[in-house]
Symmetry: none
Subunit: 212 residues, 4 copies
DNA sequence: CATGAATGAGATTTCATTCAT
DNA sequence: AATGAATGAAATCTCATTCAT
C-alpha cells in the first residue's frame, strides 16, 4: 500500500508483506464464506477460521464486516469493469459490439461464479435502509457508468441520458437476472447451452431498439 | 373440534377469527420490515412491534422467521402466478401474448413493489447453503413452471424442455433484473418511461426467436 | 369432594362431576408426563395436551405446577402408607414383620413404577432451597412416621427416637436407593430375581440388629 | 499451535492458563448453584454471576448446561471411584473389606456433600427420556462397574454377573438412599450417630448373603 | 366451567468487539 | 502484527399466567 519502506531497499518490509498476505487471506476466506452461506450468516469467526488467522487479526485489517464486503465488491466490480471495457478501438457495428459486451458478462460470471453471487447479494443491501452512506451503492453506479461509457462508443450521439441509463439497466439486469434464475432451474451445462439463442434474441432486440 | 358455531353460520369461532387477524397483522408487518431493512436485519421483535402484538404471539403463529418468510414468499408467488395466468382463451399472436406476459410482470412489480423486493431478496437464500430442504426454492420453481405453462399455449409444439426453461429464465430474469438495477439508477417515473421501448424490443426479438 | 349438592338428590351436580373428572384427567396426565420427561421439563401445556383439556382449565383446578406435584405426591405417599400399614394384628416375630414391610415396598414399587419415579423425583425438591414452605417435605416425613409407627408394634419399647429414625431411614433409603440403581443396571426381571436374596440378608441383619 | 512456551518450561501459554482457571471457576460455581437450587432451576446467568464471569464466557467453555452437568458428574464419579478403589492388597475377610467399602462411601458423602447431592440429582436425568444418548448414564454405570471390580477381589469366584450387579446396586442404593432420607429426618450429627449400627447390620447381612 | 389466543418476563444462545499478552 | 479469552448487547425462543368469550 505504501510504496517503499524507509529502512530497506525492498518495497515493503517483512511485516507489511505479512500484513498484505493476511489481508488477502481474509478477503479470500470472506468471499468463500459470503457466497457459501450468505453475507448475513457469515460471522467474523467463520471468516477468520476459514482464513486460518486469529479473530482479533480481522480488526487489524478491516473496521467491520461491512467494510470487508465493500472491499470485495469494489474488487469484483473493478474486475468486471475492466473486462467489459474495450482495450482498443474495436471495429464492428451495433450488433457485434453489443454481442461482445454481453459475452464478456457471461464469461465473467461463468469464470468467477463467486464474484457473481457476491455482486448479486450486494445488490440486496441497496435500497434496504442499510446502506446509509452509499459506500456499497457506489461501485454499482460506477459499473453502470462504465457500461454506458462503453456503449457510448457505438450509440448514436445525443441520446437522452435516461434512455441510455434504461439501456444499461436492461443489459445489466438481463444478465444478472437470467443467471439468478438459471441457477435454480438449470445445470451449468444447460445454462451455457440455452444462453446462445437467448443472447441472440436479446442483442437483436437491443440493436433494433437502437436503430430506431 | 368446533365445526359450526351455534350462533352463526360461520364455521369459525371468534377466537379463531382473532387468531386469523393476528396472523395477518404479523404477515403485513413482516412484509414491511423485510422490505425496509432486509430479511436478515429484521428481528422478531421489530416485526411484532410493527404488528403491535406481543413478542410471544409471534411463536403461536410461526415456528421461526424462516417459516414466516416462506409464507410471505408463497403468497407473493401465488399472486404473481395468478396474474400471469391467462384467465381465458386470449387471442393474438406470439407478440401480443408475450407482450401481455411481460406487462403483467411489470404491472405487478409497479403495483406491489414490496412483493417485488421480497421475492428478489428471497432469491438470495437459494443456492447459499441456507435452504437445506428447498422449502424456499419450491415456490420459485413453481413460478417458472407457471410461466412455462403459460408460454406453452403459444409456443410451437415439441419444443425442447431445456429451451423452454431457458426462455422462462430469460423472461423472469430480465424483468427481475431490470427492476433491480433500475431501482438504483432511475426514479419510478424514469423506470416506466424507459421500460416501454425496452419491452418492445425484448418482446419483438423473443417473438422472432420463437418464430424460427 | 363436597358431599351433597344443595339443589338435587344427587350427590354432585353435573358440573361438579365434570370438574372432578377434569381434575382426575389432569392428575393422570401429569403423573405420566412427570415420570416420562421429569417434573421440570413438564410444561403446563404438555400436561393439558396429554389430559386433552384447554390450557386455561388447568388454572381452575390447580394454582400452579407445584401444587399439582404436591397433590400427586400426597396421593402416592398416602397409597404407600396404607400399603405398609398392617390392617390388623398380624402375628409373627421381628423377621416376619420386617419382611412383610420390605415386601410391601417392593411390591408397591413394582406395581406402581410411576409413583416410585414420582416420589424419587419429589425427593429432589427437598433441601434444594426450592421448598420454601415445606409442603413437599411434609408427606415424606409423614411416610417416615408411618414407617416408624408400624415398626413400633414389633420393636422393643423405649428405643431411642433417633435410633428408630435411623432405622426407618435405612429401610426407606435401601428400598428407594436399590431401585434407583437397579433401574440403570438391571432389567425388570433381573430386579425381581436379585431382590429376593438381598432382601433376605437385609431383613435378617436388621432383625438381628433389633434383637440386641 | 503452541507446543512449549518460549519463556517457561510449561507447555501452556498464559491465555490457556487463564482459560483453565475460568473453566474451573465455572465448574465450582455450577456445583454450588446446582446443589443449592437444583440443576433445573439453575440458569446459565446464575452460574456465571456466581463464577463472576460474563454470560458469554460460559459458551466458550461448555456447549450448554447439560455438558457442564456432565463434566461435574464425571468428575464426582471419578473422585468416588478413586476413593472406593483399594490402592493395595488390603488384607481382611469379607466383613472388613465390605465395611471399608461402605465407610469410604459414607466418608466421601460426609466430606463432599455437594458431590453427593449432585450425583443424587444426576440420577434423575436417567430413565426420564432426557438422557437420550446416555452421556449422563455412562459415569453411573462406570461407578457400578468399579464397585463390582472392587468386590470381585473378595467375592467367591464364578459368581453370576447378575447377582454381582444386584449386590452392587444394593450397596450403592443403600448408601445413596439412606443419605437421601437421612437428610430429611436427621441432623448431620444424628446421621453419623445412627449410621454405625445400621452399617453393622447392613454389612453383616451382605456378608451372610455372600457366605451362602 | 372450559377455552385457547395473547402476553411478557426470563432463559438460552450468538456474535461483534475489546484487550492483555 | 497476531492472538484468542472475555464480554455484554441483542437476538431467539419458551412458558406460566391472564382474560375475553
Amino acid at each position: 500500500m505504501n510504496g517503499v519502506d524507509k529502512n530497506t531497499l525492498w518495497p515493503m518490509g517483512r511485516a507489511q508483506r505479512r500484513a498484505g498476505k493476511t489481508r488477502m487471506k481474509l478477503l479470500d476466506a470472506a468471499l468463500a464464506v459470503f457466497t457459501e452461506i450468505g453475507v448475513d450468516a457469515a460471522s467474523i469467526e467463520k471468516i477468520t477460521e476459514r482464513a486460518d488467522v486469529g479473530k482479533g487479526t480481522f480488526y487489524r485489517h478491516f473496521a467491520d464486516k461491512r467494510s470487508l464486503l465493500q472491499a470485495l465488491i469494489e474488487e469484483a466490480i473493478e474486475k468486471l469493469n475492466v473486462r467489459i471495457t474495450d482495450d482498443a478501438e474495436t471495429p464492428g457495428g451495433f450488433e457485434t459490439r453489443l454481442e461482445r459486451l454481453f459475452d464478456e458478462h457471461v464469461n465473467f460470471f461463468l469464470q468467477y461464479p463467486r464474484q457473481y453471487i457476491l455482486l448479486f447479494q450486494g445488490r440486496m443491501f441497496i435500497k434496504l435502509g442499510r446502506d446509509l452512506t452509499g459506500e456499497i451503492e457506489a461501485p454499482y453506479l460506477r459499473y453502470l457508468e462504465t457500461l454506458e461509457r462503453q456503449m457510448a462508443t457505438f450509440l448514436p450521439d445525443g441520446m437522452q441520458p435516461t434512455k441510455i441509463r434504461g439501456l444499461s439497466c436492461a443489459i445489466a439486469g438481463f444478465v444478472f437476472g437470467f443467471f439468478s434464475f438459471a441457477m435454480i432451474g438449470l445445470t451449468k451445462e444447460e445454462i451455457e447451452e440455452s444462453l446462445r439463442p437467448v443472447r441472440k434474441a436479446f442483442v437483436d432486440s437491443m440493436a433494433k431498439f437502437l436503430a430506431r
